[in-house]
């Protein structure tokens, strides 16, 4: 199929760094950055150099404030994952920069630094910028336009230049709109703008000139304050494909969906190998369910551990410290010897649970369920290790359907909110649920 850009597993981590920033700050910074970026449009022909810079930005952006200018110009060994798979320049992964700033001002300075000093191709930098500054409503909307940019350039290297300018133009356009949107806080408009942008993208697929893009951009620039622009959708058919409006719209929609699925693929652990929508959806469902179950389980255990619901302030201070010293907590880390402390942790809580809930709940507490299925005692705690860091090398513990049902039962009866057990009918994958953590 079409060669799509995929983040390496490590990049998924980075992406998470930037998903948590408040939207408005990111947005504002991003718009300013985009403006500067467009002014300093440069073409970068060297793959390695901007891979290097990107890797730099990825690795170092989270490190210090205001030092991005030095960071970007420093040359560092590029992340090997970035240079893999015979990617074109076009397919530079665009996101994963975690900028640790809370104020919009910091963002703007940084972005200014990036635009001034880096000579990354605009597509890559635009993608980087948009990765670090998220759209008004959700994490994904920015990634989508970066994805849209990537899509536009997936055809030929010849189109790279045009595609780069397109991407910049589109994102600029989109940013302006998103700025207006954010102030209103309407997610629908963002979606519409996404639509319009990806459709504009499609219109320019067949060798349109840069001028057209800049015309569009300038037109849209003049309408920054408007929130709802008339959405005339100009989509041009690709070579050798059907041209009626339905199939075009259908194709746009499909492409959008697949772009978003790609981002999900980077987030969900263990989805690098899965290429179909159905399989991806399955993994996503499993992962969300497992996270929800963990929340249930953890809240139950916390209730057991704290008879008086008094969480002292030490917790807060501990949290303040945890970015710096992440080694102190036994649950952090993926090495196998970490599983033992985690597992040992379960036992004292188990006794408490048994003592407290006993029979009045009428169900088996989840810990009892764990205890029963001691066939894989080590694998179970692994699933409750830090869900955000996992290793691909370690073979994932496979749940069989029984354990899953046990959990379903336990949690269903324990919770009040609607939590439905979803029977995965007829799919073999259901029984081989990989809870990779």
């Amino acid at each position: 199929m079409i060669n799509r850009a995929l983040l390496p597993a490590g990049g998924g981590e980075n992406m998470l760094h930037c998903t948590d920033m408040t939207v408005l700050e990111r947005q504002r910074a991003r718009i300013k950055w985009q403006q500067e970026q467009q002014q300093q449009f440069q073409l970068q022909q060297q793959e390695i150099s901007y891979f290097t810079e990107l890797a730099d930005v990825f690795h170092q952006a989270g490190v210090h404030e205001g030092g991005l200018s030095e960071v970007v110009t420093r040359s560092v060994k590029p992340d090997p994952g970035l240079v893999d798979n015979g990617w074109n320049n076009d397919h530079v992964v665009g996101y994963g920069v975690g900028l640790p700033y809370n104020n919009g001002l910091g963002f703007e300075l940084n972005y200014g630094a990036i635009s001034r000093t880096s000579s990354c191709p605009p597509e890559a930098v635009a993608a980087v910028a948009e990765a670090t500054v998220k759209g008004s409503e959700s994490v994904v909307s920015d990634m989508i336009s970066s994805g849209a940019g990537r899509e536009s350039s997936k055809k030929r290297k010849v189109d790279k230049i045009q595609n780069n300018s397109k991407v910049v133009a589109e994102e600029d356009t989109r940013d302006k709109r998103i700025k207006g949107c954010a102030e209103q806080g309407e997610s629908k408009i963002t979606e519409k703008n996404n639509n319009k942008n990806s459709r504009n993208n499609n219109t320019n697929k067949n060798n349109n000139s840069n001028k057209e893009n800049s015309d569009e951009t300038s037109k849209d620039n003049s309408k920054v304050s408007e929130v709802q622009k008339p959405d005339y959708i100009h989509v041009r058919a690709r070579r050798g494909q059907a041209t009626d409006s339905h199939s075009l719209a259908e194709r746009v929609r499909r492409e959008k969906i697949s772009e978003r699925m790609k981002y999900l693929q980077d987030l969900v652990p263990g989805c690098d190998k899965i290429t179909g929508k159905a399989g991806m959806l399955d993994e996503i469902i499993n992962y969300v369910q497992s996270l929800q179950r963990q929340v249930e389980f953890l809240s139950m255990k916390l209730a057991a551990a704290n008879p008086r619901l008094d969480f002292n302030v030490d917790n807060l201070f501990a949290k303040e410290a945890f970015p710096a010293c992440s080694i102190n907590f036994p649950t952090i880390g993926m090495s196998s010897d970490m599983t033992n402390p985690a597992y040992l942790q379960f036992n004292p809580a188990q006794q408490q649970l048994v003592a407290c809930c006993g029979l009045d709940m009428g169900i088996d507490p989840p810990d009892m369920a764990l205890k029963r299925t001691t066939s894989a005692p080590v694998s179970i705690p692994e699933t409750f290790l830090d869900s955000s860091c996992f290793t691909q090398t370690h073979p994932p513990p496979t749940w069989d359907a029984d354990l899953q049902n046990l959990y379903n039962v336990a949690f269903d009866q324990g919770r009040q909110t609607s939590f439905q057990t979803q029977p995965f009918t007829g799919s073999i994958e259901a029984s081989n649920l990989k809870m990779e953590m």
């Binding site: 760094h17 998903t19 999900l264 996270l291 809240s299 139950m300 255990k301 949290k319 809580a349 919770r415």
Partner: protein, 187 residues
């Protein structure tokens, strides 16, 4: 270093603790189930408030929580500066969801395709896969709060955001559990 992810976690933790204090002051002796409910409820509302108003799932959580007394108190407590706007958003959400649901029912009743007769293998496989995808999308919609009223595209966006927040929530809860058990064991 202050990674953005930990900013989210800190925000969540702070709000969660605030919510729990509400419960702590209210009742003195609660059964374990009640405690668990309180913990989970305040955790959920705290999580939703970190994305206050911007994502559909957070609005749904807040709207659902505001329906009963406990939740209402928590919502007011945790979101006092923005609660007015959020309440309006939540009520608007309820209306809109009803509208969307009615439209979907109407649409579904009108067009029911039947592709059974003598279709080639390729077409058959495609229809099967489409059905699988559809079923799984429905499952996902039931998982993500507020998902039933979204189209596919925004569903995936919401899922992304929800997943990130859930992950942060799990991390924070796990660490505070570790802390709590340390304290308990230390005693």
């Amino acid at each position: 270093m202050r990674a953005p992810r930990s900013v989210l976690k800190q925000q969540f933790l702070k709000k969660w603790m605030m919510g729990l204090q509400v419960f702590g002051s209210a009742k003195q002796s609660m059964s374990i189930l009640e405690r668990k409910k309180a913990i989970k409820l305040s955790a959920d509302i705290a999580l939703a408030s970190t994305r206050a108003g911007r994502t559909c799932w957070s609005r749904t959580i807040i709207a659902d929580a505001s329906k009963d007394d406990d939740g209402k108190v928590l919502v007011q407590h945790l979101l006092s500066p923005e609660s007015e706007r959020l309440k309006k958003a939540s009520t608007g959400l309820a209306m809109e969801n009803k509208r969307v649901r009615c439209k979907k029912i109407l649409k579904r009743s009108c067009c029911i395709k039947r592709v059974r007769k003598g279709a080639s293998k390729v077409v058959l496989a495609k229809s099967i896969s489409k059905r699988i995808v559809k079923r799984r999308t429905q499952v996902l919609k039931s998982l993500v709060p507020g998902g039933e009223f979204m189209d596919d595209i925004s569903l995936i966006e919401e899922t992304l955001d929800y997943m990130v927040s859930l992950r942060a929530q799990v991390d924070v809860m796990r660490r505070s559990l570790a802390k709590a058990t340390e304290v308990v064991n230390g005693k």
